[in-house]
Subunit: 325 residues, 2 copies
């Protein structure tokens, strides 16, 4: 019996490396995660990645699957041509100037490397909310705001692999300085991180607020779920906060629509996972702010692949590479 092709994917995050195996149709046949270890710099994280690769290769050989390619999604600026992380993400200090083709060459498989948000966008394009489209913009509302852009059926990188950073388009020119150097970036107003820090501020000033019961130092989805629960329970300050965020986000999305005019705009990430209906709120606000010519045919959709999008997209980029070469 012929072996079935398998594609291995990684999504390197600030806390965890998510990884998994997809088949030809994009179905996840295996997934796992490991701690992101950077205590001894890039080599310690490379060790984690290589160990997981071995684990996945063993998984495949036990199940008559043939690994055909490896894909790696990384935060920061990634030169996809050379497979190098050239610009550091604030969420992963020390992970920069790392070339990823060479360390993986012993596995004898093609290795695709790209920005993590680009990988998520590519996954939604191949197997999710933008399937069948040629032009799509995908926004991930996480700790920061990541974005990936598909133009003419291909990931758009810009001339120096530094494009598609839509979280760093300013919506408040008089706003605070962002880590990227710009002022008032969208990410400072509409990411999960921004929502949590604004909610924590309310909690500090109004001890009677339901937000004051949230442990904002907790990791994971719990604090954000608490914020959306307070809004569902009718807390006015929280509702106002989330409406203000939706408006800021809509202004940002309107700009992206006027710039990229995509067929579909996909919104995902922790914020949307916590409250899927928030996409409708944001879409309604966005429609008020855009040229009719651009939005008449535009669809604003929720991301479908959740927090596995990153490694699925990385694996899918590996698959493209293995077919091309």
């Amino acid at each position: 019996m012929a072996e079935k092709p398998a594609y291995l994917g990684f999504d390197i995050g600030g806390s965890f490396v998510k990884y998994g195996i997809i088949d030809e149709g994009g179905s996840v046949v295996f997934s796992s995660r490991a701690l992101t270890v950077l205590d001894r710099g890039a080599p310690s994280l490379l060790t984690v990645l290589k160990r997981a690769t071995n684990q996945m290769i063993e998984y495949c050989s036990a199940r008559n699957m043939q690994p055909r390619a490896i894909g790696i999604g990384s935060p920061g600026t990634v030169d996809a041509r050379t497979g190098t992380v050239t610009g550091q993400s604030p969420h992963l200090p020390g992970w920069v100037d790392v070339e990823l083709h060479t360390p993986f060459s012993p596995f004898g498989l093609p290795v695709a490397v790209d920005n993590d948000a680009n990988c998520s966008a590519f996954a939604e394009f191949k197997f999710g909310a933008a399937r069948g489209c040629r032009d799509a913009v995908a926004i991930t509302l996480g700790t920061g705001i990541g974005s990936g852009i598909i133009l003419g059926g291909k990931l758009f990188h810009g001339s120096h692999y530094a494009g598609a950073e839509l979280g760093h388009v300013s919506i408040h020119a008089d706003g605070p300085v962002c880590g990227c150097g710009n002022r008032g970036c969208l990410e400072l107003y509409a990411s999960a991180g921004a929502i949590l820090s604004r909610a924590a501020k309310i909690a500090r000033f109004y001890p009677g607020s339901p937000l004051a019961e949230i442990d904002f130092t907790a990791r994971g989805d719990t604090p954000l779920a608490g914020v959306f629960k307070a809004a569902r329970d009718g807390d006015k300050a929280t509702i106002e906060l989330l409406n203000a965020v939706a408006f800021d986000l809509a202004v940002g999305l309107a700009g992206m629509i006027n710039a990229f005019d995509p067929e579909v705009l996909i919104i995902g990430g922790g914020v949307i996972d916590a409250e899927p209906g928030y996409v409708t709120t944001v879409a309604r606000a966005t429609a008020q702010l855009t040229f009719k010519s651009a939005t008449r045919k535009l669809r604003i959709r929720r991301a479908r692949l959740g927090n596995m999008a990153g490694f699925i997209g990385a694996a899918a980029l590996g698959a493209e590479l293995s077919r091309a070469g």
Copy 2:
């Protein structure tokens, strides 16, 4: 002797239609202008365009040149595939739902139609400041802010020919409502129109200001030249105004760079024609606000083709079309 190929181009503006002939190398061999007449709706303007076409064809036949194509740049949303103005520009009311292939079919030449700012960008790409590049963003600071984007050596239109409207990316989410429906669009802060209205406000409140000597109702370049002269003469309020505009513009450009990561960013239009050195001021402010990875290799340049860029680019798009088949 073989006839030399000639390409006819139009740039429809709010006051004038500029038009002219270019040769194979993009040199302007003839240029002229006519009043933009819309008193009897679109047909009156079509008459102007056809009369000018006949004039240019006669010019060619008297000089052993052979017209090969016609290009038309128009304000508003232009469906380049069907040659139709599908979305109205606020600067040209009544000029909408006009299909331009049919009225020009009697001339028996291929007809290219595109947005006016796209035509200017294409001219700079073929013959001007972005020659030899594959990815460029061109911004025209006129009454509004027009923009055109070249990606992979081709004009970028978006999925519904409504993209590349970078003047309608917001930089002040709390700002005034723009004609496009968005709030605080870049065009409201950094166009020639915005500079003039802010300068006129200063003039009204401070009769002693050198700006009070400017006739802001005058058409053409004079009022803007007066504003830049006041700054050169050391008027502090004017210098502050122009610095504030440069900062707002830089925030907007930083966003464009983070989104598109072009090889070259071109700035032109009335503002730059009035004060070419302003590009340096803006470029310096922009460099402070961007990821080093995106700007290390980016060049910010002044547009080279001035106010002929529109019809040159339109003619060049016609030339591409005639070569394609």
